[in-house]
Subunit: 145 residues, 12 copies
């Protein structure tokens, strides 16, 4: 089983950036925890980050024939990117949407996600743990008969 993890825009600053909102874990710590959990659950995990909507689309396109599912934190593009929604729909891969913060407790415009209706499920509000729960959820979904 192969799983791709995708980090959306502005996530390279994690740990330094507004820790009261996003927690103090760095992106590296999250990546390490994901690789470790993947190994534990028998899934090969590969990870990608980009600030560019276009590069994220290119990457999703490439993944299409290579992985079984995607865990994605679309960050700010959650609320604005129809292209990402269409790209994920085009790739036809099951994906899980995760967020570090509880977006429903923040600005009103963060309540809407273009991606969520196409997702298997969503996990949000648990900081770094959101990614791990999302990975577990996706693997459970893929293993369901």
């Amino acid at each position: 089983m192969k799983i791709a993890v995708i980090h959306g825009p502005n996530l390279r600053l994690l740990g330094r950036r507004e820790p009261e909102v996003y927690g103090s874990a760095t992106l590296e710590e999250i990546d390490d925890a994901l690789l470790e959990l993947g190994e534990e659950l028998g899934a090969a995990v590969e990870i990608f980050q980009s600030n560019s909507e276009g590069q994220l689309l290119d990457h999703v396109e490439e993944l299409m024939d290579r992985v079984d599912g995607i865990v994605i934190n679309p960050a700010a593009y959650t609320h604005t990117s129809v292209a990402l929604r269409d790209g994920l729909a085009a790739a036809g891969l099951p994906f899980v949407e995760v967020h570090l913060s509880n977006t429903s407790a923040r600005e009103r415009f963060r309540k809407h996600s273009y991606l969520a209706p196409m997702a298997v499920g969503t996990v949000q509000g648990f900081g770094k743990e959101s990614y791990l729960l999302g990975l577990r959820g996706l693997i459970a979904h893929l293993k369901r008969p």
Copy 2:
């Protein structure tokens, strides 16, 4: 560590009720899995179900001094119950909101949750697994220093 799980209205029918939406697991199967995972993670889990908003409020009130956190599937009351929001806020306990189905892929009125802004986090769309991920997430949150 003590965790309460609360099932909202109409969940006794799980497994029989619209399996294409809610999955084929029964409430008993979910409860068993929760007790087992609780044990594994070192948390005592107690479980309650009611169709009545008032009884749910009474129950939350009682839990106030007895548990460390709540995993709640508020079901239909998610979208209509200011009282449940206020009751959970009054109890002052950290809680996680879970949903069997991916509510963002359903009717428009299911996109709004009165509870989510008060929650630690939310998990939805993974069927029975949503509860287990929610329990994991809550315990991770409670263990955070």
Copy 3:
């Protein structure tokens, strides 16, 4: 053929309560007329009333394996109860929504029904007669090949 009739909140006061809006028939008179018409049309009719959303849900759950269809006047819960909608959908029974008054001629918030999109049909505005027309309509629906 077995038909359940359900009266929602505040209907015990019928006949005494705002007769210019709801007519002068009492709930007993309506029940008698329903039982009589049921007999005439060859259907066993049973009747239930509650002011409590939770009890209404419990009752719908119980009816699930016992009757062929439901005539329901959800009264005020028409406009606010996602739980009743979900409960009726879960029960999987055909149901007809009836109202004594013409709700489209009243306050704006009465124009929306959470239940109507799941119903076979709706009848409103004919006072006591709304129930009888609803019962006729449901039986005709159940007899359709």
Copy 4:
């Protein structure tokens, strides 16, 4: 007692047109059933159909001094015709609005009726039976002291 039945636009195609939405009864079958039920209930029934809003208005105007009430299926004009609302209000005759399909389960724009607030009551979702229930409801209304 004299009752006029009015069929709005596009109803000549009934039975041929989208039977999954409107049922398989033809307009002739509906008319026959209405005449028969009228006779049974002691009311002379006359019937009119037009695709033209203007002709419908002309017809309502003519009926003004000739009948005791109207059963109308305004079809698409339900949602767009202020003129029909005003014409019926001007005629000052009690009328009942009927629909073959359950309009609340269809497109959003079908949830609004310009006519319903002026009606005695409405019946919808029972196919051909909607007309018959509407006729019964109107006659019951006219016989009420």
Copy 5:
């Protein structure tokens, strides 16, 4: 100077129809007063009424090369007819919109007029007098250098 007066739908019933809303003058009395005032002000007045949007459009088209301006009471079509707006714009004749009743004191949907933004001006609320003021206003407009 030649002026056309156009009466929209449901106006043949004037005087009989809801006099508390529309006043007690009949359409004939209004027409007589218009012809008389036209004569007094040196304008030939011709008058047309139809319940049909299509016939109103046909008539406006015909007037195009024959008159200097139009006084129109579009009645219910005020709020729903983009076609009448387009027809009057196409004819390119200055027109005045008049209403017997004060539409801003009635239902919310009567506050919007598709025609008013294309009109020279509007007069409403003065009953029969609205037409006479509208005619005076149009003639004053046409005489302006």
Copy 6:
């Protein structure tokens, strides 16, 4: 018969101010024409202008026992002054709302008038002539038996 005319804010600049919107007549010319027409129709006309909402309210209060009706061009206060609406309602005098320009052909916020629902009627779009038509309309209204 005594009629008060009230000019709202910014009207002292008439003739100088945006003539393509408001016409080239000055306030003096309008006042002269109103006095003359009043005389012709047998009504004593008095005129007041203020830029201040408070002074307009004080003035309406004073007029209460002195005149039979009011012609008012509320100008910008049309769209924002609940106080003027309440003041006119409190005075209990019939009033006519007039506008130089056709407000429905201008910015969206000019489509709403707080005063119009309380008015006898409104006249707009005829420039200086709007006042004269409004005065005629008010007098006709006052003379109606």
Copy 7:
């Protein structure tokens, strides 16, 4: 004179629950103060609390023939319960709506009350004092000739 006081959901926790929002008075202290003030003003006061919408409705129904008026703090049901509105309207008793906190300074959804338009008046924002002012206001209202 007999007055019923009704406390809505989640109010048993008063004093313990979010004191910065609801103040530090307990429900017992409020009840004592109400009984005392009732005595002072010559009114017998009885008090009821429930978390259940259905029980609140049952209680209002019972009060119908027993008391002269109601002081109610509908708490969260203020914003969601059409049933409570209908129940109070059905009981036909004058009632006063009170709130401990200033609801207009809180979340947007707290600005709407289904009950307020049916009330004699409302008092909010004064903590425990809101109840006492509400009781005074109701008694003054009942004594008005």
Copy 8:
């Protein structure tokens, strides 16, 4: 303790103006009752009325260093005056908003108050009594430790 009472626009007409909405008490009677109650409760009360938003602002500015709190009936300015909101916020004095009528039972635009979110609390619907309850509420608030 010094308390200022402020009456907003159109209140000089009280008692004469629409008594079915505002009651039959005159402003003088209200003022007398306020002075008397102030004396009884040990507070010096001073009173001001103006129809002008600007004068009301000037007055609030002056009060800033002279009184301990304000009871204000902003009347129509409730719904339109951001300036009054800002002026009261600038003065930094606790204030109570009162209304003679129950504004939530009137036009839709009266449901919004720019001032209420800045107020200690609000009282409405009790006629003259609203002022007295408001004064009591403010004094109780000021005496709270």
Copy 9:
């Protein structure tokens, strides 16, 4: 292959009517070009125009068994006619919606089309060419295996 072309209201004036919006081609020129292109592409083209919504519906009904598809310029009825939408759906023929002008660059109410969601496709903004492209598109659609 047989194709019907339908021109909606106000199109007889083409070429004379607002050429800056609709271009300078007359309806006759458009019809000639359509017949010619039909011949070139091997399709028999028949053409109909009416200002009346009812006649357009009658015509669509008649076409039902006679043609393979429809090119329609619904003009103003695009935005207001649910009846035309329903008539075309009832006829069950593939149709293409065309507009002379670019409706998305005009008034806001022109952005909504009741017909477009039922159409094969739409073409707009190319003047006379819109019809020709629409005809090409429809024929290509009909030829698709």
Copy 10:
């Protein structure tokens, strides 16, 4: 070159009033800085403040023939005064809108300005500096060929 500076309502309290929102500079300090900068840039600056919308309008009217442009802080009237918009448009003078605070970071109703669309430009959020930047911007605009 002559420039008028206008301060809107509640600005006399600057420095004392909510310094965390509006900064600690007093109105006198701002005025001094404006006069000094005017001198430096070769423009005569005159300054006016009023709490009254009417006086502000009177003042704008007077300025019409006397100055080359206006720097205005409309304060609360920004969001509510159509009259000020119309007055500035009538005066026909170029003007710059300035705000001490960053209004887009405050309440939702502060996001709308009636004046801004008529302005040369706007400057906000820089405290006292906003006026100085606004003055620079206006002078640069006036000097542009």
Copy 11:
């Protein structure tokens, strides 16, 4: 004559991606057909695709002085990219917007196009044919005198 064709995001997957929505033609087949039709109509066609909004903008900028017009399928950026709208407006080239699917029959957010109001015209719903019709339309537009 030189025409640029621009394919927006996610279009490289055409033919593989959701063929029930977008048809079975690949991007290569579309490009071949465009080149062929261009040759037939005497226009040199060049083609560009990118998933990146920024690269699309760079490309439009480059085209500015090199081509006579653009056929663009903005795909998902249709609904979200103000930048593309501004880029096309800045380039000042006539352009035609095309879509493979009928966007008005899909999700609500696809009904709005930021580009369409700036376009010559739009073509949608014809699959691969949409591009060809768009190219024909653009060339016809460019040849118009």
Copy 12:
């Protein structure tokens, strides 16, 4: 003191692009003026332009530890980029938003800025001068004790 200036999408065309909207200054002229003013005010200014949202984010990330503040003209991304808002928030640098044109006088969608609530302040409508005023404003802000 180090200041970064960022130009958003489509700004390379300045001077050539719609000069009636954006003025005739080229980007080079603006950059020269900024460098010169920076020198005059004692601040080192560095400048960056990109059409790509992703590159703008990358650049903001890099600036984080290198400059004291940012002057940004986000152009079209103002209205659509949550990512830019989040990137600037993450960088934690004070920034000023500038616009060449007065965006409040343009299309409705330009009235909303995702960035403005996070900014120190905004300057718009002064053409090239907007940048210079923004730079002055930022430096004044940074120098404030």
